[in-house]
């Protein structure tokens, strides 16, 4: 019974999407309630998208060039943050001595949204690549440290005791027991910080930039081109989802269905 129903529901979903698009078209191009200076029609947005692929006007670069510029900053800051953050979190959790001291400091820094560091970095290094990459890096390091750390901390004491009883060395305890139990949390950290990095770069480019997808939508606002803004927003959303794919694949491959 449930199965049969779901076939019709799929059709209902499709109808809704078509209906929303139709209403959107109706209030814009159809009846002209909203002019294209406030809300452009879906057709205009598709046109703007196609045009922006090759046309560097009005903001000085094509969509691809903007996107590439943003991705370059995000990936360099993010990867550096991951490479430094995860080992740091693991070390912090494994060697307990400094643990109680470092944790509160990281908890404190974590509450500052990445975007708030932008002015500091702009004053230090200007509005170029470096200042934004550093902002992304800070966000990524903090998130990865905290997640790797909590992951290791969640390791069941009993498992460690069993390992130690059977004569595992400290290194074996870490790599065979603690790391595998921490893995879901580490993956979680990778995902969270990537989402954060992508949001932060958009914000940073809104504020201080001369290239990038955030810069593109900010410029489009200045010259009343909502079609370009909306194209930019969709591209940001889609690219953000695509960036998560490699991590999800890694997760599936290593975690075998989420269970160890």
């Amino acid at each position: 019974m449930q199965k049969k129903k779901s076939k019709y529901l799929w059709i209902l979903s499709a109808v809704t999407v078509v209906f929303v698009l139709f209403i959107w078209w109706l209030v814009t191009d159809g009846l002209g309630i909203f002019t294209s200076n406030t809300l452009p029609s879906p057709i205009k947005i598709v046109q703007a998208f196609i045009k922006k692929l090759t046309d560097p006007n009005p903001d000085g670069a094509t969509l691809g060039a903007h996107l590439l510029s943003s991705l370059k900053i995000v990936l360099s800051g993010y990867l550096l943050g991951v490479v430094i953050g995860i080992p740091m979190g693991i070390v912090m959790a494994w060697y307990e001595k400094a643990d109680l001291m470092i944790r509160p400091v990281f908890d404190m820094i974590r509450t500052v949204p990445g975007i708030a560091w932008v002015p500091v970095m702009v004053v230090f290094c200007g509005i170029g690549f470096t200042s934004k990459a550093i902002v992304i890096f800070i966000g990524a390091v903090v998130a990865n440290v905290i997640n790797a750390y909590s992951g290791i901390k969640q390791t069941k004491q009993v498992h460690l005791w069993v390992g130690a009883t059977f004569g595992a060395s400290n290194w074996q305890l870490l790599t065979k027991i603690a790391l595998p139990s921490a893995f879901p949390m580490i993956i979680n950290g990778l995902k969270l910080s990537l989402g954060g990095a992508w949001t932060t770069i958009v914000a940073a480019e809104l504020l201080a930039s001369n290239r990038g997808i955030g810069y593109m939508i900010q410029q489009a606002r200045g010259i009343l081109r909502p079609d370009i803004i909306i194209v930019g927003m969709f591209v940001i959303g889609i690219v953000g989802s695509l960036l998560m794919l490699p991590i999800s694949l890694l997760e599936k491959k290593v975690m075998k269905g989420g269970k160890w």
Partner: protein, 263 residues
Amino acid sequence: MQTKTPAQERRDKIVFGTLAVFLFLVIWYLVTKLTAFGEIFPDPVTVLANIGDKFVNPLGKVTLAGHILVSIRRVMAAFVVAAAGGIVLGVTMGWYPVVEAIFKPIIEFLRPIPPIAWIPISILWYGFSEMSKYFLIFLASFFVITISVYSGVKSVDPMLIRAARMLGAKDNQLFTTIIIPSVVPYIFSGLQVALGNSWASIVAAEMVQSNMGVGWIIITGQQSSNMVQIVTGIVCIAVVGMLLVMIMRGLENKLCAWNKQGR
């Protein structure tokens, strides 16, 4: 291995936490005093003094407390509306397949767009008014809460529902005795994430365009290359953000005490 009582553990946490913050401030102080870093970055004493000063003397139009209150008011007004709407939509989407089929594609389509990417269009539509901020915060919280509540309803143990049905529970009984209690933790995790999102978004929105609020403090600091003011703003953002999280967590512990004990 010796085990500590919870009270001891909490005491340790507070003692070491305070010590860590203190140590952090000392290192910050020494670094700015002893290295060239101090020429471009203020030391903590200056920042704290500035914070104290700005609570009394106005910064721009209002005092520091005024800026913080403005930002909190913006977040809260939209957050409450988004929470109410998100919980209702999430529950109905989870419970009625028809509602799910209608709203899910739209939400899944809009959800990946980070709230910050809505800033330019919100300014274009609502201009300089408060409405542009409310609109943004609403978006920053609404989808997160809706999806969290929706997945909460979806993950209610079907066994419980069938058992209740078999024992003759009506739909509204099912709802109040099974669905609501099992969804409450999901509501709270949604609210928690949404509030963090909202706080980050309001800071960004105020940095892009505003004439008061915590984001305004740091962006005008940047424009006048006033590092003390920037750091003052960052400290305020961090402290208020932390307080919001703590209040939310406290609320959750109060309302979901049964859930914690059950685990």
